[in-house]
Structure formats: structure tokens, C-alpha cells
């Protein structure tokens, strides 16, 4: 397994890129430790697949280098990079048995039979495939097929990195749940460097120790799941992570305090926005908005209360601005006028989308 360095990568699909907008990837620089679990998270078109293809060698970057343990592999084709990949759709040989599918990557590299056998049985055990080793892959359910794909990625112990590209997108929720925890368990056991690419925040946050959030070809934040939830560096991260995402409310700052629709809102630290910021906003997650009883708070109108099972999502409007609240099952909430209160330690000011320096 390897430490992976992406050094000043840029990539454009155009022959003669001029400005930043011509780049699908705009200067990416990051380092991934050996044995870590990482996720690349972002919406379609954010550049995460481009980045994945550069790491796997399917794509040569316009600029920059890819290093595995300090070794420059930028010019090497995929088959010389020693990586394993698992894709959205299972890639398996239908006519082969489960055993032969798992053994294939090893036999292909001339690994001796006894070693193949030991390794296949070990991986099959971890994935709970041992009962079906003699079954032809064609007869399996989609989640078992995807397990085999994962097993084929895991069976070699000499790979630099295992990359997962939206591996659970086509899997039903309850099976997705099982596979997700299986994968997590596998990482905890084998400690291989794993990179997981997805648009699904739940998958990224539950799998990875560190998540790279991308938007429009740029990294907007790198952090642990807790950091991304607790302290989004950008309103995009606040919105993209969390369901519903962070409330982003237009605000004014004067006399060292933030005001939303004329109401003073206490924030984590006294806001001191940079000179010339064109857009000031308050960011507060629905988890940290409550219904105020008594004085103070933001007057609003509750327009809808949706049952989300263990919680309720309350949609309120203050003027034209929508504010979501997440309440537990027991708190009373009904459509009509209400006063909202924001937990000050979790309310922050963003200038032009970015968390204000002073607040970091």
C-alpha cells in the first residue's frame, strides 16, 4: 500500500485552455497517507471522476504529477500502477464460479496455487461469500455480484490503492447498508489505502476518515466527517453535507454583530468581515435551530412539518427566506407564526461563501 501525493494537478479536456473555466480540475494538491480511508465527495461534474482517472492512469493530467510513495507514476499506464478498482456496476465473469472470479486477479499474475487458495478463502470469509464459492456468478443477486467485485479488488495484497467509484449506487438501501458496513469493516481489518468516490454524503462520511469535498474542479474543504459537519469552511459544504443542508441566510454586519432581517443574531465569534466582501451570510444547520419560547429570536412562519421518522423537518419562512429546523419526535410544531432561535456557538458568518477567517 502506498502514500499518494497529487502534486499541483490541473486538467483540461480542451486542446488550448486559456482561463480557469477551461479546466475541469483547477490546481489540486493533496497527500493521502498509507492505509487511510478517503472519500472524494461532490455533485456530478465537480471533477471527482477526472481526478480518479488521473490517479488510475486512464487520463494524463495537463499539469502536475502523481506520486505513489514518492515515486512519480504520472507517465505510467494503468496496468503499471498496481491499483485495484471497483466500479458502479459489478465487473465479474458470469460464466466463472465465485471462487474463480476471486482467484482471477491472482492467477493472472502467476501467484502460486496454494497462496491463491489461502487468499481467496480469507477474502471470501470476510465478505461472507464462503457458502457460494462453487456457484456460477451469473446466478447471484446484484449485491452479491458487487461483493465479488469488491473481493476482486481486495484479494491482492500488493496493490498501491483500492479505488471505489460509486460502488453502491445501484444497490437497494438495506443491502447498501450491509455492504457499506462490510466495506468499513474490511478497511478496519486490512488497512489498505482506499479512495471512495461518491455524490452521496452518507456513504462518504460513514466510510472515510477524511473527506475531500469538491465543487467545480476545486477542493473546497478537506476534513474529518465531524469537521465537515460542525464547521463547514464554505456555504457549499454546509449545504451539500447534511440533510437538509445548512441554512444560509443573507445578513448584515454592523457594530461587530450580525443582523438577519433587522434582528440581531448572536454568532460564535464577533464577525469582522473582510473589506469589500460583496455577500455576507449566516450559516446555521437545521439541527441548531429551535423554536424559541419567550423574548428574542427571529420571527417566522412555519409552513410545513414533515415526518422524517425519528425526526421532523420543519420548514419555516422569514420573509422570502426559507429556514429549516430539525426537531425530535416529541417537540410540538405546527404551521403558523413562530419565533426561531439559533444556537450561537453553531452560527457563523460567511463572506462571499467562505467562513470568515477570524472564526476558524
Amino acid at each position: 500500500m502506498a502514500r499518494i501525493t497529487l502534486s499541483d494537478l490541473r486538467h483540461s479536456y480542451l486542446p488550448d485552455p486559456q482561463s480557469d473555466v477551461d479546466y475541469a480540475l483547477k490546481r489540486i494538491h493533496l497527500e493521502w497517507e498509507d492505509g487511510g480511508a478517503y472519500a472524494l465527495l461532490g455533485p456530478s461534474g465537480c471533477g471527482k471522476s477526472t481526478l480518479l482517472n488521473i490517479i488510475s492512469g486512464l487520463l494524463h493530467p495537463s499539469e502536475g504529477r502523481v506520486l505513489f510513495d514518492g515515486d512519480d507514476v504520472t507517465g505510467r499506464p494503468p496496468d503499471q500502477r498496481n491499483i485495484a478498482q471497483v466500479f458502479q456496476f459489478p465487473v465479474i465473469y458470469d460464466t466463472m464460479t465465485v471462487y474463480d472470479n476471486l482467484a482471477f486477479p491472482l492467477r493472472n499474475r502467476g501467484v502460486e496455487a496454494a497462496r491463491v487458495e489461502a487468499r481467496v478463502r480469507e477474502i471470501a470469509g470476510m465478505l461472507e461469500l464462503d457458502e457460494m464459492l462453487d456457484v456460477r456468478a451469473a446466478h447471484l443477486t446484484p449485491d452479491n455480484k458487487q461483493k465479488i467485485s469488491m473481493g476482486r479488488g481486495l484479494v491482492r495484497d500488493d496493490v498501491n490503492v483500492i479505488m471505489f467509484d460509486e460502488p453502491l449506487t445501484v444497490i437497494d438501501p438495506h443491502l447498501k447498508w450491509k455492504l457499506r458496513s462490510k466495506l468499513k469493516e474490511l478497511h478496519q481489518r486490512v488497512r489498505a489505502t482506499m479512495i471512495y468516490v461518491t455524490h452521496d454524503q452518507t456513504e462518504a462520511l460513514t466510510f472515510a476518515d477524511q473527506v475531500v469535498v469538491m465543487q467545480e474542479g476545486e477542493i473546497v474543504q478537506i476534513g474529518t466527517p465531524v469537521e465537515l459537519f460542525e464547521r463547514p469552511a464554505h456555504t457549499f459544504v454546509g449545504h451539500f453535507i447534511g440533510s437538509p443542508g445548512m441554512n444560509v441566510l443573507p445578513c448584515e454586519v454592523r457594530d461587530g454583530a450580525a443582523f438577519f432581517q433587522g434582528v440581531r443574531v448572536a454568532t460564535e465569534t464577533a464577525p469582522t468581515p473582510p473589506q469589500g466582501a460583496s455577500r455576507l451570510e449566516l450559516g446555521v444547520r437545521p439541527e441548531f435551530v429551535t423554536l424559541a419560547n419567550g423574548d428574542g429570536g427571529v420571527p417566522a412562519e412555519i409552513v410545513r412539518v414533515a415526518d422524517a421518522g425519528r425526526r421532523r423537518i420543519v420548514e419555516a419562512r422569514a420573509g422570502e427566506t426559507r429556514i429549516n429546523l430539525l426537531l425530535d419526535d416529541e417537540t410540538e410544531a405546527a404551521p403558523g407564526p413562530a419565533t426561531l432561535s439559533f444556537e450561537s456557538a453553531k452560527t457563523r458568518v460567511y463572506a462571499d461563501g467562505w467562513l470568515m477567517e477570524g472564526a476558524r
Binding site: 461534474g45 446484484p142 437497494d172 438501501p173 438495506h174 469493516e185 466527517p225 439541527e287 422524517a308
Partner: protein, 355 residues
């Protein structure tokens, strides 16, 4: 419109795709079909659409038997998981197509297309081809086509499954509003319990070709009629284990016992299954009501806002889901607390023990 399935079955060769099902859909709000892939959702939708005929039974629309009425004459709209648009036509012409088929043109057609495009925020893209749109915009185009037609019955077969997570959240939020005032009966198939909850309305849970229950969505979630419905309607999956009721208490293996209260108190002594959704299992020994259990943590998943732990207990793996960040360590024993007020009990036949 009133829509009814009367003792409908569907067999293909020797395979049963749908066991005998009788169902009267709610005329307003969403009718969600919730179940795993190949549970029978798409079979139900194809039967309602008239794309397939039942093996036996009847389908009634507004008091009329339409079992043998072809799909073109049923006034239904269908939106699939895969965005189906005409690639060579503009967005405008795509939306207009059902109206043109119906022989409409001129100012009325223009008005209706623009109205639908407006509702789905496609106004700026009317002259583009579907291939030039994002996935979300393509699916909005398909939805606009379903709306413009003013069908009596709108069938949405996992329409958001192929969209990005955030886009799905956005459209899921819009959909109930979109159909709220249109007077159409809406059927929406999904495999995601959270989606069913948020869409509200009514839900039918479907499992292996059988409809297990139909009723108000929140009732099905909170008071499932049987264990299969509870399983289908839980994400993360519900914890389930055999328990014994004796001497006024519930016994789970050797280590956990708690007083039998509620409907189970009146049930005879004997063997039952208990179902506990993961959020009723808290990670710490608190003074919250319930019973303390402990087990070795096998897997942890911390999402930033909530913590999930899989732990071994009484020969099975249990899952706890809680708000906040809890420092579990894999391989160590932790104490958890089951909120017994959140326990559901099921008899040997799978039926929930209810008052």
C-alpha cells in the same frame, strides 16, 4: 379519481410476480409503493398503466372496469427511473409532445408548455436538446411532460433513483407541491424508506410479490401490521430478535429483561419477536428509560452528525444509531440502552401485537 385493484394477480410462466392484491388508492396526495428491487413495484405500476394485463382480477378507474382498456386510452402519465426524452427534439417540443399527440396546437399548447416549464424551472432551457442538460434537468423535462398532459393518474417509477443525492433531496421536496393542486392520483415507487416518509400521503409496502400493508405513511412506519412491513419500512434495518414473555416481563436471552407494558402486557405468555429500530438504542448508560445491554463493538460509522455502532449481543449483531459523536472503539465492549417504549412485538405469525 378513484382507482382500485380487485384481487389482481400477475404470473409470468411459472413465476408469480404479484400475489393476489386488492387495493384502493388514495385519490389525493401520494401513494407510495415501498419495497426492494423486484419486490413487485414495477409490476403494480405496469398493471395500473395498462402496459401489462393481470393474470386474474380487475382494475377499476372511477367505477369503470378498465382491465382491458389499453394504455393509450387510460389517460395516464409514466415517468421512469431512466430519463426518457426524445433526444432530437428541444425541451419545448419534448414537453409539448403529449399535447400534440392529443391534437392540440396554437396558443393553448404554448400556454400549457410554458406553464409546466415554469413550474419545473425549465424556462431558460426550452430551446436546448435533452443531451445538453444535466441529469436533474432531463428528469425535470420528463416530469414536465407528465404534468402538461393533465392525466388522471401519474405513475412515477423511482424517478429520482439516478440523480445525485442533493438533487434528489431538492426534487423530492418539490414533487408533493407540484402535484398538490392538480387533482391527479399519484403513485410513486421507491426503495427508500426515508423517501416514503418525506413524501407522506399513503404507502403500500411490497415484499416478494406481496403487498404487506396499505395505509397512511406515518401509521405504517409507527404501527406496522407485521414484521415484514417493519423490515421494509426501516433504514437502517430494524433490529429483530426472539424474546420470551413470562411473569409480566420480556426476556431477551440471558442478559436483558424488562417489564411487559402496553399491548404486549395483555398477550399470553410465550415466544415473540421484538423489533427495535436502531435509533431506540442509545450508546450510553443514561437515566433514560429502558434496559441496559452491552456488547463488543464490531463496526463504527460516524457521519459527523450521528454515530452508528454495530455490536454483538445475545448471539446477533445489533445496531445503535444516535445523534452526536460517540467515541466507540472497535473490539471493545460498550454499554447501550434499549428504549423499551420503542419496541414493537410480533407473534409467531409475524403479526404485530396491538391493543
Amino acid at each position: 379519481m378513484s382507482i382500485e385493484l380487485r384481487e389482481v394477480t400477475k404470473r409470468v410462466g411459472a413465476e408469480i410476480h404479484l400475489y393476489q392484491t386488492s387495493l384502493e388508492l388514495a385519490p389525493t396526495g401520494f401513494n407510495v409503493l415501498l419495497g426492494a428491487t423486484s419486490a413487485g413495484k414495477t409490476t403494480l405500476i405496469s398493471l395500473l398503466a395498462g402496459l401489462r394485463s393481470p393474470t386474474s382480477g380487475e382494475i377499476w378507474f372511477n367505477g369503470e372496469d378498465v382491465t382491458d382498456v389499453p394504455t393509450q386510452k387510460r389517460n395516464v402519465s409514466l415517468v421512469h427511473q431512466f430519463f426518457v426524452n426524445y433526444p432530437h427534439m428541444s425541451v419545448y417540443e419534448n414537453i409539448a409532445s403529449p399535447l400534440r399527440v392529443a391534437g392540440m396546437d396554437g396558443a393553448e399548447l404554448k400556454r400549457r408548455v410554458e406553464e409546466a416549464a415554469d413550474i419545473l424551472r425549465l424556462g431558460p432551457f426550452l430551446r436546448r436538446k435533452p443531451g445538453e442538460l444535466s441529469g436533474g434537468q432531463q428528469q425535470r423535462t420528463a416530469l414536465a411532460r407528465a404534468i402538461v398532459k393533465e392525466s388522471d393518474l401519474v405513475l412515477l417509477d423511482e424517478p429520482l433513483a439516478n440523480l445525485d443525492y442533493k438533487l434528489r433531496e431538492e426534487l423530492r421536496d418539490e414533487l408533493p407541491r407540484l402535484f398538490a393542486d392538480r387533482g391527479a392520483t399519484v403513485v410513486y415507487a421507491t426503495s427508500e424508506p426515508s423517501e416514503a416518509l418525506l413524501l407522506g400521503g399513503h404507502t403500500a409496502t411490497v415484499s416478494e410479490g406481496r403487498m404487506t400493508q396499505f395505509g397512511r405513511t406515518s401509521d405504517l412506519y409507527r404501527a406496522p401490521s407485521d414484521i415484514e412491513t417493519a423490515r421494509v419500512f426501516s433504514d437502517p434495518p430494524i433490529n429483530a430478535a426472539p424474546v420470551i414473555k413470562a411473569e409480566g416481563e420480556i426476556r431477551l436471552g440471558d442478559s436483558a429483561r424488562w417489564p411487559a407494558v402496553g399491548a404486549i402486557a395483555d398477550a399470553p405468555d410465550g415466544e415473540y419477536m421484538v423489533g427495535v429500530r436502531p435509533h431506540y438504542i442509545a450508546p450510553v448508560a443514561s437515566d433514560a428509560p429502558g434496559v441496559a445491554v452491552n456488547g463488543e463493538v464490531k463496526i463504527t460509522e460516524l457521519s459527523g452528525s450521528e454515530s452508528i455502532a454495530h455490536f454483538e449481543f445475545e448471539g446477533g449483531v445489533w445496531v445503535s444509531q444516535s445523534d452526536g459523536v460517540h467515541p466507540y472503539r472497535v473490539g471493545e465492549r460498550h454499554e447501550f440502552r434499549i428504549d423499551t417504549a420503542g419496541c414493537l412485538y410480533f407473534g409467531a405469525d409475524g403479526a404485530r401485537i396491538a391493543a
